[in-house]
């Protein structure tokens, strides 16, 4: 096989590859969507619960929360 034949084969392979690339690139089912795909995710949580800080919650601490009653308080005496 002559060198010119080999060069011709390489050229034909390159041109066909280029044409295939151009066609495949224009077809949506060949390329993954550039905008991406949505996947459902969820954050994990652990079962551990931190103990309340005794520096904050102790017998001398004050709870400033004011009970809000809308309408009449049915529990009031």
């Amino acid at each position: 096989m002559k060198k010119s034949d080999i060069a011709m084969i390489i050229l034909i392979a390159s041109i066909s590859a280029f044409i295939a690339f151009a066609i495949a690139n224009s077809l949506s089912f060949f390329t993954p969507p550039s905008s991406g795909e949505k996947v459902k995710t969820i954050s994990s949580y652990s079962s551990s619960v931190q103990e309340p800080d005794t520096a904050v919650f102790h017998t001398d601490a004050l709870n400033p929360t004011v009970k809000t009653v809308i309408g009449t308080d049915s529990q009031a005496n």
Binding site: M1, D5, M8, I9, I10, I12, A13, S14, I15, S16, A17, I19, A20, F21, A24, F30, T31, P32, P33, S34, S35, G36, E37, K38, V39, K40, T41, I42, S43, S44, Y45, S46, S47, S48, V49, E51, P52, D53, T54, V56, F57, H58, T59, D60, A61, L62, N63, P64, T65, V66, K67, T68, Q75
Partner: protein, 221 residues
């Protein structure tokens, strides 16, 4: 003469077969080129879909873990009902101990509730009187950001007066003892002939409730 004709025929046949071989090889190289390109696209698709499948798999695994953790979490939270620290500072005796946690760090930006709490802290001090109180507004100075991520702040400004400076000191001590953390950013103490005036700016905190729900995550190729 006959020998010459035979050799010419042979050469023609060789040239013909060379030509045929060239066309076949050229055709096959074209096919190989197309296949290589298609393979490249398929590999890209494969990588992308593997990424999606891995993420979906991770979600399923997280849901399974969360499902098993929820029972233990419920038990651990229930155990807090008997915590002596929480039970010691219930706002109402018939309230649940867990309510104390929400009293200390509410889940919503409730300015009025903060105002009521401050009034309660100041009002419990004999001789201290609130002259002005505004919550939810940052007046002057630089905006203060929460030092803890996920925790938001509610700013407030207040002016308290008293004839006795110890009453103002007690107000500050009440802020310190409060289970609802109240940080004081700035204060000015003025003394007139008859009374003391304490002008202060500070902030309290709240933490918006966290929702555990499925969220969309975009996977890019």
């Amino acid at each position: 003469m006959a020998e010459k004709q035979t050799s010419v025929g042979k050469r023609q046949k060789i040239a013909q077969s060379n030509k045929t071989m060239f066309f076949w090889i050229a055709g096959m190289s074209a096919v190989v080129g197309v296949c290589a390109v298609l393979a490249w696209f398929l590999v890209q698709q494969l990588i992308f879909h593997t990424k999606i499948a891995n993420e979906a798999d991770k979600t399923v695994s997280t849901i399974t873990k969360n499902k098993t953790a929820v029972e233990a979490l419920r038990d651990n939270i229930r155990a807090l009902e008997v915590n002596p620290g929480l039970n010691a500072v219930k706002a109402e005796p018939d309230e649940k101990a867990l309510q104390v946690i929400l009293d200390a760090l509410p889940a919503d930006n409730n300015n009025l509730a903060l105002g009521s709490s401050i009034q309660k802290l100041v009002g419990s001090v004999t001789g201290a009187k609130i002259e002005a109180l505004s919550t939810g507004e940052q007046i002057g100075g630089q905006a203060i950001n929460s030092p803890v991520s996920g925790v938001e702040i509610i700013p407030f400004n207040m002016v308290v007066t008293s004839n006795d400076v110890n009453a103002l000191k007690e107000v500050l001590q009440n802020f310190e003892r409060s289970i609802r953390i109240i940080d004081i950013d700035n204060y000015v103490l003025d003394k007139s002939d008859v009374s003391y005036k304490l002008s202060l700016t500070g902030h309290a905190y709240y933490k918006p409730a966290v929702k555990v729900e499925l969220k969309d995550k975009v996977i890019k190729p």
